[in-house]
Point group: C2
Chain length 383, copies 2
């Protein structure tokens, strides 16, 4: 039924998208990646409704996106190196470039003028003019670039899987200024910047621990945190790499999915030392703090990926568990945390939860949905 | 020249406001209160430009406003008890009620459904349907209500000047549930909720210190913090009461203007104990953290109100001082902190600063501007 319903929906939506779009604000809109069909669904949070679809975005099997400061345009980073600028008001593609052979996400500078993409092939990052998508600068690296985040002062930070490096790229002057940190830890696989733009944390696949840089320090230095956090425990297979980017700050703690272990790690945001662990249902993929940080929602890797757990950030105890359906890929909170939207890929739907009651309060049909991105991201640092 | 220019601008703007408004996103818009003329100017942050004006809002001599979750509507709280819902896309008044004789600000619930107003005369708060402005409930109090803030879970918190009380109003159920804290301290005059929605802090005019409530605690309790912070120092006259609401969180500290003293106080956000003080140019009015919290900008009461100082939140040292002009009344940062907009009442303009260089990069003519409010506020807790 769902494929048919989705096709029907698609046909219905094709009309409005082509006609003159209605006057509407953009603060409560969102973009849902439909990973199998190279399309995105535009949604209205307030109405719990899809309002349009944009197709032709290439390979979205591992896609993410960022928003322009006015919350009108989204920049979609496809797995195939495609960078597409879409207009969520008119539901059209504004520009599209295929800028690399294989890419893994991107970021937008704090002033909204530059969009950067992290590439696996060739390695390094490319920086584009957010308006025109013209190439501004190319920062090569000796391997796969990943964990690319924005930092205050027109800077980007990324890490390199093959060379164990993190680089800060400062684009505030006439020429890019690149600072390289070597030996940050073996095989960084993803990273985050805290919501204050201060701390860059890279997860490590090749060793037990993480790497952190205080971006406010002068000069900043990379240091190991939580060394040997999995020591003594049997390593479990990793069916899906955890993701670090997201709302990882919960009060004065940072919460992170462990690798090789079915637990999330709690870190004091100031000292970056461990404050606790929570055993979870499976290998966590995303651990995302509800805005304000009172609870953290966690989803899991295959084959335990039908479940979401909710953890109290004060007690570190699991206070809720839901089974939205097969293949829960992503979660997104409304800006002030009253709802969580959960994509259930193999049920072709997004389920909407009330974050206070943990009850479902709505759903939206979507074709193999993965990432959900609300426009409020435009106003946040480190996404 | 400025009055003439403003009138001309007003005439020019009257046209577009009346015609069919253009399609535009709302994430980079803002509303500037023009206190003397009962009007507000709608501005586009990206273009550094005014795009319209809305008139007929009553007495805006001490006005503030909040935004709907979609960033289309603003609810303007006038000093005369007027509550006006304006549409910033069409630049029109949607609805207006005069709901009290004298009011002092308001808040919007985390789900965007309820708008609450704090009233001096009669005391207490009134809660309205955000869509229709119909009265939902009336919470009386034994005196002037103030320091009204939203808290997660459809709650509002406010204090009462005359009775030394703070009240939490929980509107998540069928009936309002009010929790009253007595003897929180003498003469609370304003309050804030931290950006995580966790801590409510009320400033006290009648005694040396502040009152804090941890809203995550079960049950929450009011306690004094920083008792006797001005002890031993001569009290200076207060020409204008400091304002507490705003971005007061700077990293893991909260920054507050002292009363009767020319200094700002730094508090550890976890322990709520003092971590330092900074002597300032005058009696601080607003101490606002740049998003991310790296610096804090401060403006001052008459007669030293032509100046803004910038303080480093790590060292507590003043790192910048500007004189935008006569009567600097308010400051607002763009969402990711790259610009600060400063209203200079007696120069009839808003000056825009680059927050990295501290240099002016633009200005906008406005008639006696006071509060500046950017739509990103719609996505934040405790404003």
């Amino acid at each position: 039924m769902n494929r048919l319903a989705a096709l029907l929906l698609c046909t219905i939506l094709a009309g409005p998208a082509a006609a003159t779009p209605e006057l509407r604000a953009t603060g409560d809109l969102g973009v849902i990646v439909e990973r199998a069909t190279g399309s995105v669904l535009i949604v209205d949070q307030s109405d719990h409704a899809a309002i349009g679809r944009i197709e032709g975005l290439g390979d979205l099997s591992h896609a993410s996106l960022v928003f322009s400061p006015d919350e009108r345009f989204a920049y979609v980073f496809g797995r195939d190196g495609g960078l597409t600028k879409i207009d969520i008001l008119t539901r059209t593609i504004v520009r599209r470039v295929v800028q690399a052979g294989n890419s893994i996400g991107g970021a937008i500078s704090d002033d909204g003028r530059l969009v950067a993409v992290a590439n696996y092939e060739p390695g390094g990052i490319k920086v584009f003019d957010a308006d025109t998508l013209e190439l501004i600068t190319d920062i090569p690296a000796g391997g796969k670039a990943l964990g690319l985040e924005d930092a205050p002062g027109r800077r980007f930070v990324f890490s390199v899987w093959d060379t164990d490096e993190t680089r800060i790229v400062d684009l505030s002057g006439a020429e890019p200024k690149v600072t390289t940190f070597e030996n940050i830890g073996h095989q960084p696989y993803d990273a985050l910047v805290t919501d204050d733009g201060r701390t860059y944390i890279a997860g490590l696949f090749g060793e037990d621990g993480l790497s952190a840089i205080d971006l406010w320090a002068d000069p900043p230095e990379a240091r190991r945190i939580l060394p040997g956090y999995g020591r003594g425990a049997e390593e479990m297979p990793v069916y899906k790499m955890p993701h670090l980017e997201g709302w990882a700050k919960a009060g004065d703690q940072i919460v992170l999915p462990a690798v090789h272990h079915h637990e999330v790690l709690w870190i004091d945001a100031r000292s970056l030392t461990e404050t606790g662990r929570t055993e979870t249902h499976g290998q966590p993929v995303f651990a995302m703090a509800r805005p304000g940080g009172r609870q953290v929602w966690v989803n899991f890797a295959h084959p335990l990926n039908d479940t979401v757990q909710v953890i109290d950030s004060m007690t570190h105890r699991i206070v809720g568990e839901m089974t939205p359906g097969p293949a829960v890929l992503h979660m997104e909170f409304t800006a002030r945390g009253t709802e969580a939207w959960v994509s259930v890929r193999d049920a072709n739907k997004v389920v909407i939860y009330d974050t206070n009651t943990l009850q479902p309060i709505g759903e939206i049909a979507a074709e193999s949905p993965s990432g959900i991105f609300f426009t409020a991201r435009a106003h946040r640092l480190g996404l």
